[in-house]
Symmetry: C2
Subunit: 229 residues, 2 copies
Amino acid sequence: MRQAENHLVRSLPLFANVSEKHFDELMSTAFLQRFPQGITLIREGDLPDFLHIVVEGSVELFASHDAHETVLDILKPMTTFILAAVIRDEVYLKSARTLSAAQILMIPAQAVRDVFDQDPAFARALVNELAARYRCVVRALKDEKLRNSTERLANWILQEDAHQGNKHQIALGIDKRTLASRLGMTPENLSRNLAQLSKHGVVNSGHDFIIEDIDALRSFAKPNSLIDQ
Amino acid sequence: MRQAENHLVRSLPLFANVSEKHFDELMSTAFLQRFPQGITLIREGDLPDFLHIVVEGSVELFASHDAHETVLDILKPMTTFILAAVIRDEVYLKSARTLSAAQILMIPAQAVRDVFDQDPAFARALVNELAARYRCVVRALKDEKLRNSTERLANWILQEDAHQGNKHQIALGIDKRTLASRLGMTPENLSRNLAQLSKHGVVNSGHDFIIEDIDALRSFAKPNSLIDQ
DNA sequence: CGTCACTTTGATGCTGATCAAAAATGGTGG
DNA sequence: CCACCATTTTTGATCAGCATCAAAGTGACG
């Protein structure tokens, strides 16, 4: 792994207070690997070999059952995934594939468990990370069960605007098909929902969404700090 | 706390390898409290004071938004809850209320965090428990997104039969209103879904469900080890 | 300027929620 | 033991949300 990325990884909260020795132990066996778009990184049902961290690009977590598939999350840098499976050494419950070209840091699962037992700072950081991931899933479940698809879209727009610096102009970055899947709706429905939101201050301009009346959007979306991040 | 319960708690995986000293430290500040049915134990949005463990009875986790409420989980002994909020010292994302009279062990949040930092065995056990809880939520999210309500009911019956010893006769224990809520459907729909399942080997006899043809039920339910426990 | 992929629009059907009412169940007191 | 009442459960009718299939529109790019 090159110096630049090493430094980037070192600065992650997960490794913040880990001793130099243990950080080196983790990194000495780790790979930083580039993948093209559309590659399946892990498959549900397999046993975990590595803890994965998205360093660049984006990754989609999904699951299948009886010829149906659903997107459970979309990850951007710097996020760990399949931490719970690594800790328990049990099969993955989700699959993962790259949504764009991506760089993934892969740390052998056994090394993660070993350093966890030796380094209290790493243990603390890891449990914090896992708790954070847990809370994300709970938020996703609440979003799914307590809102309809138009409300999910409206809140996604508000959140994304905040992430992109409250410019009231949101660059999509992904195609609408993927966004639809992320939001738990079909592309057709996303289209119709966007049409709905024009009544609530949102305009769809090519690959951007523009918020023309944020108060109207807020009052429709009813954002909730116990669901949205 | 009485000796009997102390022993029960001591034998939980969470405390299995914790030193006597640290176990006593946790227990010395803990309460074992009885609650009647229908008591709200925690409210979403509040900050955590205690880690909770269901010792007896059952507890419902739920969340509300915009005049809607949804049941996220039903807990039986011995299960921890709100572990993630305790670890991160952040507000609860769910509320909890007793579904029956219940006994709850409450360990001060600060004690949990302190012992975590001092006792590697407790740290290991706690991260294992949190990972297990994480995987439960992921399973719930998949169940919700990948199955319709009849399939959820069919799989619940299969699981409950296994828990109750494969007698092919399942005692409900809770009223159908609560079961419906647990399974993410209205009582009306539960009733209709049960009628549907009579085509697939399930008979509804008073407060019991009877599986008359488990192969038919299995073939309809399509149980999946990556969704069901 | 034509092709191909993506997106939108239209028509239709399924799933599950809601409201209303009937039926079944269970407990209580005469 | 039975009649009565309250509660739970079931049944029926209707409606909203979302998926699906089909077709038309749009835009990027060779």
